[in-house]
Every structure is written in C-alpha cells, then in structure tokens.
C-alpha cells in the first residue's frame, strides 16, 4: 500500500466479486468500488456482486489495509418500490462503507436526510457535466465528490474542477461509454432492460453469437449489431460499438470497439486538480484487475516520485485490443 498524500491521485478500482476486491487492494488500489448483488447497481450481471456478509468481510479486509470501499447504488429507484435501494443505502451506512455512489435525486435526498454522516459521491450516471450541475448536487445533498461524465476534455475538466468546491474523479481506463452515462436508453430500446432501472447494458440474456460463413455475428435482442471476420478482434455487444448502415456510409457509426487508457494524461489530470482516477471493469476477472491496477499503481508512483511513466501496454486486456484517450482529447468529438 502506498500512503495517499494530499497531492497524489487516489486510485479507485473496480471489484465485481470479493476475490476481485482483495486482488485490487493487494495490487495497490487506494479505494475499491463495488455493489450489492441486485439491481441497485449499474453492473447487475449474472454471478457478480456482493451479498451483505461478503460486503462486511470485504470492508474489513480493505480497512485493515488502509483502503476504502465505495458502494455503488447508482441505478434509479423503481417508482412505487424504493425499498431495495433504500435498504442498500441503510446497509452501506451500517457496514461503515467509506462512501456511497448515487445518481438518483430521490435517493440522494433520502441518504442526505436519513444518514447525514454518510459520505456521498455523485455517480457518473447522474451525468453532471457542468459546474452549475455539480454545484446543484453539492448544495442540495452535500455531495463530496463527483465522478465526471466521459464527455469533457482535459481543459474542461480543469475548468470545472476549479469552479466547484467538491472533489472530482475521472475515468482513466477501461470500457468507454460513448453516450452520456445515465442518459442512454439504446439498450432498453432493443431489449426492454434499462441500464438506469435494471442496471444492465446489453444484458447477457439478450445477447447471442452466431457463426455465419466464417464470420461471427453478434445480436442484441432482435437486432444484428456486428459482424466480425475471423481475424478481427471483437468488443462487447453494446449498441454504441456496433456496426450499422446509413445512406452516407457503413461501419462504426458511434465508436470502434476501443477502450480508454488515460495514463499519458495522468500528469494533466493531476495538474487539473482531479482528486481520484477510476478504472472501469466490475464485470472483469481477477486477472484484469491485477494487471490493470498494478500498472496504474506503478504509473502513479512514478508520477508522485517525479519519474517518467513506465507505460506498459495493456491493450491485450481491452475491448478491440485498442486504446484511446476518448473525450479527453477534444478532436474525439
């Protein structure tokens, strides 16, 4: 474990399972984010997430090693049935989680009222992309940190961070939402399952792969979303990384299957006043967590020690086996 000084970027890492959480902490995570095993979190995938007992043991494991646990309760509570979401907040508070990551205004209001001592982080799913929006959440609910949506350039992140009083956290690695998070119904249009309500994007229950004369065809619900020849690396079966036809042209209309790798931008993010960087991938295995968290720990230690970044390729871990700096570079738009 590396102690966090006031200037260093906090490394926030994903964990879909207790084993992944232990792996992340052992590999040098300052904080781990994870969720309960139900639709209260935005990675409600089969076989993933934490029971209450697992969460308790995991928080003990983290705290014993000086790491934090942030519990993501970042879907939007179902109308007429707020129970599961409120219980998740109550339990996170009772289990002494270091913060909860929320997106729903109703839940933020509940948490601020019911658990005034509980630290609130604003999820990327809230899509607070301007200083005005972030200030609203700060004033209304006492939010202490905002996870910035992946729509801002580095210069804009610096500007926003300077004009608000809470901390900012930005994504630094992994799967890249092309659309503004928390405002995307593409998956529910094709499958009836909503990322915002059910916590699943491109749910596995609606994904199918079919071999078609040497090609791999991926379908989501009733729609074909991609076709790969045998030599092409593939990506997740999400609509925003699918191939489509238009009268102008055919191909990756929204984005190629690529992943974010912002390691070259870490000095810039630190200079911009960003407090924490986040690695995506609660659906990924221990092998991914170990490789990516170790690499980022090394990069951050190099940054803090004023040494050059020993950037090793993580491309083999990534979707499409290609990396991008995404919206952090303005030309991406």
């Amino acid at each position: 474990m590396t102690a966090i000084d006031a200037q260093s970027l906090e490394l926030v890492c994903p964990a879909g399972t207790p084993a992944a959480l232990r792996t992340a902490i052992d590999a040098g995570a300052d904080a781990v984010y994870c969720g309960f095993r139900d639709e209260t979190n935005a990675r409600n995938f089969p076989g993933l997430n934490f029971s209450r007992d697992e969460m308790r043991a995991s928080i003990d494991y983290a705290h014993a090693r000086g790491a934090k646990v942030l519990i993501a309760i970042n879907t939007f509570a179902r109308a007429g049935d707020p129970g599961p979401w409120r219980h998740a907040i109550d339990d996170a508070s009772a289990l002494a989680a270091d913060a909860v990551i929320l997106a729903d205004i109703g839940l933020l209001s509940y948490a601020a009222r019911t658990h005034p001592g509980l630290r609130l982080h604003l999820s990327v799913q809230a899509a607070a992309a301007s200083s005005a929006a972030i200030t609203y959440y700060e004033k209304a609910f006492g939010v202490k940190r905002v996870v910035l949506p992946r729509v801002l350039s580095l210069a804009e992140i610096a500007l926003v961070t300077r004009s608000i009083s809470c901390e900012t956290e930005t994504f630094a690695f992994g799967g890249l939402c092309v659309m503004t998070e928390g405002r995307c119904s593409l998956s529910s249009y094709a499958t009836g399952k909503s990322p915002n309500i059910n916590g699943v994007c491109s749910p596995a229950s609606h994904v199918s792969y079919r071999a078609d004369s040497g090609s791999l065809v991926s379908r989501l619900g009733d729609f074909t979303i991609n076709r790969f020849t045998p030599d092409q690396p593939v990506g997740y079966p999400t609509l925003c990384k699918g191939r489509f036809k238009t009268t102008v042209g055919e191909g990756y209309l929204f984005e190629e299957p690529v992943s974010l790798d912002a390691r070259p931008l870490l000095p810039g993010l630190k200079k911009a006043g960003v407090r924490a960087i986040k690695i995506e991938g609660r659906q990924r295995s221990r092998a991914y967590i170990k490789a990516v968290v170790s690499a980022f720990r090394e990069s951050l230690d190099a940054l803090n020690g004023g040494r050059p970044d020993p950037i090793d390729s993580l491309a083999l871990m990534t979707e499409g086996q290609t990396v991008t700096a995404g919206a952090y570079k303005k030309a991406w738009r």
């Binding site: 076989g47 792969y209 990506g235 990534t318």
Partner: protein, 185 residues
Amino acid sequence: MLQRTSQHVLRLPGIVAWVVRPLPLLPLQVALERLLAGILERHPDLVDRLSGFERRRVAICPSDVPVIIVLEPRDGTMILRVERILDGETVAARICGPLFALIGLVDGDYDGDALFFSRDLIVEGDIEAVLALRNAVDNAGVDLFGEALATLGPYAMPFSRAAQSIAHLWTALHTNARHNREAAQ
C-alpha cells in the same frame, strides 16, 4: 503455479489429441467428479453464486483435446459429465478454447473478456449462464493444481513430481514461444 505473463495462449500440439482419443472416458469422469467435489467443498460460495442458473448446462469444449465437459448447477451442487461429442445433448451454452486458456480462466491467470476480444475463446448460446459460471469460478479463486493434488491423496507425491516436470517443460515451451514471438515483432 505456472507463470504466464500475458494473455497469449499456448495451444496443445495435435499429437495430444491423437494420444488422448482412444482412452476410455469413465476414469476421467470419475477423476474430474472427485476434483469437482473437492473444489465445491472448499468453495461453497461457487454454487451459491450460481443460484438462479439451476439446470442451465454449460459445455466446456477444449479445442485441442477431444473431450467435452458438461457442467450443470442443480439442487445446490454441480453435476459434471464427460462426453466425446455433444450428440443430441441439450446444453444451454458452449465455451470453446484451448485447454490452457480454459484452465487459466479457472486459475485466475486469464481474463475471460480479454480472451473473448482476442478470439481465443468462443461462446455460444446462453451467454448469461456462461457469464454466471465464469464470474462464480473467478471469485472462488480455485487453485486447480493444488486441488488436483489434494484429490489424489496418497498418490499426490509421485504425481506432483511428474506434474512439476511437466510444468517446467511447459514454462520452457512458453518462454521459448514468447521469445519467438517477440523476435518476430
């Protein structure tokens, strides 16, 4: 534990499939059942994580060994069957890839999504059942090698020595392959 430094997967040479083909399945079935029973005993949360996926059979199909392992979560445990072909077999899903890739997934050395992105792993059918199994196994943190040794009981020592030499050979092969690849780049 075998050291693997990247997601590159070594494939068994064709001779292995040729040698294995005439062997009877029953001893393998018995050995694997024993192995699985040991794993489930030491990792009860594995089956727990598969609740909701009862009776959804997943076929594990090593592409370089002519054997298929069918896993089925049922009645709070896991049923295993070894087959040569999936003739008339109703499985919900299939996971196909080189044997070392499949072992590496269980051991936590490989990332399933990365193997899928690189086309080393092919999944078909009920993707939900595949993901549930993959995630449950990854969380269990199974040490296949250690489990195999534990299963063998008093036979573990000689087997362990044999396995160690295979492991050394494998590592040597792997290092060699990596050097060749790097030289080619």
